[in-house]
């Protein structure tokens, strides 16, 4: 513990030195705090988000005419603040709610950041945003889906991502469409781990599906980080559900794909809830034996030359991996925050807060497939939405639903290998 604090200090010092030398010539620097998992089990997320935020800063701080009318791209720096440059100070939440809280406090009181984004894990966003609320610092979250976060009556908390109930609705609408096209969706199996993520998403889906008269015939819960999932796969094979919904992190998702192939089991429709199935590692390891898997996503790369395609390219150059839904949602959160600061024309918290409340971004001003960004009184983006993507060739997801924004038509049944 002591040692990691020491490392944190060195890291902070390095950031300070870096900022001092890099921006000495500029009058004004807008400092944003980012509380993210840079170590611990979710460390790979932290590595990705660092590369992603570098891309955002590149776009904002330098002129990028190739992005057209994309907000903050045209000129160098924030035009509303006379071309001020933006800087992001990272703090490691270590996967712990308590650390996330302490680091947020440090960013606000010592680093004097004007706003915060983070903190990936819903449980850490919960504690870290409470500190920002107490100090009256705007907090924009781009990726945490636990519904409770925007039910606390906070005045400084804003969330751009769709949440679990939005996704459950996307799933039920999608399945209704598939049924209209002749697919069977009479019995549905939910496969989920027993973590906060797995159980809460499974509960939300169960509740939403009940309202829509969709029958959940089988609920297969399992312990996360399983050593073996054969009995779960055989349960599915015996009961033959029409649709299998997978709510799993990467390790278990890989194991399920391998075991399904070994047991020669293919559900007619396999629909995944993001997480493991969106991880580039999953696609590399078992994409070829998971062909035809559906997944939810708000991200799709779009036609070449579009802002989203250009940004995806910049990200791939920076990080070495393909853009995924999680990273795209995190970047969108930061873009929305910076757009508000630009419109506020000030780094005063109250003015940023007012600008966030007045946010009204249109789909063509976003790098992601939301219907826009507009916050309700609770701070939740009411225009957040998502679609369905499919791993048709086993290597890249393509958007297949809703039809209006789809690149390809959905292919049934699940092909596997």
């Amino acid at each position: 513990m002591k040692f990691s604090n020491f490392l944190g200090l060195i890291g902070a010092a390095a950031i300070l030195v870096g900022s001092a030398s890099g921006t000495a010539a500029e009058d004004k620097v807008v400092k944003i705090g980012a509380v993210m998992p840079l170590s611990g089990g979710a460390a790979s997320i932290g590595v990705h988000v660092k590369a992603a935020f570098d891309v955002v800063l590149d776009i904002v701080n330098n002129a990028h005419p190739e992005l057209g009318n994309f907000p903050l791209a045209k000129s160098a720096g924030l035009a509303g603040l006379g071309g001020a440059k933006v800087e992001v100070l990272f703090a490691d939440n270590q996967g712990s709610p308590a650390t996330g809280q302490n680091q947020t406090l440090r960013l606000i009181t010592e680093e004097k950041v004007v706003a915060i984004t983070g903190a990936y894990q819903s449980g850490i966003t919960l504690t870290s945003s409470a500190i920002a609320e107490r100090y009256g610092i705007p907090y924009v979250n781009g990726e945490s889906v636990a519904a409770s976060l925007t039910e606390r009556g906070f005045k400084w908390f804003f969330r751009t991502t769709p949440i679990a109930s939005d996704f459950a609705k996307v799933f039920s609408d999608f399945l209704a469409d598939m049924k209209a096209q002749g697919a069977k969706t009479d019995s549905i199996a939910l496969v989920h781990d027993n973590t906060e993520y797995g159980t809460s998403v499974a509960n939300t889906i169960t509740a939403t599906f009940k309202e829509k008269n969709l029958n959940i015939a089988l609920d297969v819960a399992y312990g996360s980080n399983a050593t073996d999932v054969q009995s779960q796969v055989l349960q599915l094979k015996e009961r033959k559900p029409d649709v299998v919904i997978m709510i799993s992190y990467t390790s278990d998702a890989i194991l399920f794909a391998k075991t399904m192939q070994a047991q020669d089991y293919k559900p007619p429709i396999l629909l995944a809830d993001d997480a493991g199935y969106s991880d580039p590692d999953f696609i590399k390891a078992v994409g070829k034996i998971s062909q035809g898997a559906f997944n939810r996503s708000s991200w799709s790369v779009g036609p070449s030359g579009s802002p989203s395609a250009i940004i995806a390219d910049m990200y791939k150059k920076k990080s070495g991996v393909e853009m995924d839904d999680t990273v795209a949602r995190q970047m969108t959160g930061l873009f929305v925050l910076l757009d508000a600061i630009d419109r506020a024309g000030s780094t005063e918290p109250a003015k940023i807060q007012a600008a966030l409340k007045a946010t009204d971004l249109k789909p063509d001003q976003l790098m992601i497939g939301y219907k826009g960004v507009k916050f309700d009184d609770k701070g939740q983006n009411i225009l957040a939405s998502g679609g369905i993507i499919q791993l048709q060739d086993g290597a890249n997801y393509v958007s297949v639903w809703p039809k209006a924004t789809a690149d390809k038509a959905p292919v049934l049944p699940y092909k596997g290998w």
Binding site: N194, S231, T250, I254, K258, Q261, D264
Partner: protein
């Protein structure tokens, strides 16, 4: 139902053989020098990465990866013995526990630093697909691991009971001063024991890598099972680990299938504790 149950039991046996395979090294080290190696799971992890490196450099599967992992881990075992174990054996029990625990973290985070946190995987079907025998599905990779588990268990058992090297090792385990008076060098014997134990663990890792994902923290996932297997089988008993591994594999699979996967660990550990109540030395352990 009945048919699926047969498949579940067959799968459980294969799983159990794998449990036995990666537990044999742990039980051997305990039997030889009364040390619980908390870095055991991370030895398995190193074996998996060794197989992965061999595959990505030369494009060959376990035929080359397994011998390489065995030799590499045997070397690591000797280095660990002379660099760490020999010194902490003189200290209190707590030092031994913390020493191997520290080693586990060192190995885990070195691999984390070098390979990153990404999930890796050998190509599917690197060991010839899946057999279909009257509808029963048996993966070749697991069958290979199971067969090797039996051979390794048998080999270790024969080594300990039928060879002079084995007798010398057991002599050191029983009373190292007396053994020394008989002209046996305890240091060499224990270094050999570590080489064999770590080598067997590396072999297990290379074979498990053919059907499991590879990640720096995989030792945590697999390590716990190894400890349960070894204590159920009896610390120090190689055949005990085999029987215990098979038992745990089958109980896990059957309870996971009949009651539900979230409950299978409850069933396994409840039976485990219940059993130790009556026989604390394990199935075949020394009383």
């Amino acid at each position: 139902m009945a048919f699926f149950l047969v498949q579940v039991i067959v799968g459980g046996l294969l799983l159990g053989a794998v449990y036995a395979l990666f537990s044999s090294g742990l039980t051997l080290v305990w039997g030889m020098m009364n040390i619980v190696n908390f870095a055991h799971g991370d030895f398995v992890m190193l074996g998996m990465y060794a197989a992965f490196v061999v595959f990505s450099l030369f494009g060959v599967g376990p035929a080359a990866g397994a011998p390489f992992a065995t030799l590499l881990l045997a070397t690591v075992g000797v280095i660990v013995y002379f660099g760490l174990i020999r010194h902490i054996m003189e200290g209190p029990m707590l030092a031994q526990i913390l020493g191997t625990f520290g080693l586990a973290l060192l190995l885990r985070y070195s691999v984390f630093w070098w390979f990153g946190a990404n999930f890796l995987s050998l190509p599917n079907n690197i060991v010839g697909g899946t057999y279909d025998i009257f509808g029963l599905r048996i993966e070749a990779s697991r069958l290979l691991a199971g067969a090797v588990a039996l051979l390794v268990t048998l080999g270790l058992h024969l080594l300990l009971t039928r060879t002079s090297l084995g007798s010398k090792m057991l002599a050191v385990a029983e009373d190292s001063t007396a053994a020394q008076l008989m002209g046996i060098r305890p240091d060499s014997m224990q270094a050999i024991a570590w080489a064999i134990a770590a080598g067997a663990t590396g072999l297990a890792g290379a074979l498990i890598a053919t059907f499991f994902y590879i990640v720096p923290t995989v030792g945590e996932t697999l390590g716990i099972v190894a400890f349960v297997t070894v204590s159920l089988g009896g610390f120090g008993s190689v055949p005990g680990a085999l029987v215990a591994g098979l038992l745990i594999g089958v109980i896990e699979s059957v309870s996971g299938y009949l009651i539900g996967a979230v409950y299978k660990d409850i069933v396994v550990y409840a039976l485990f504790i219940f059993f130790l109540w009556f026989r604390p030395q394990g199935l075949m352990g020394k009383a």
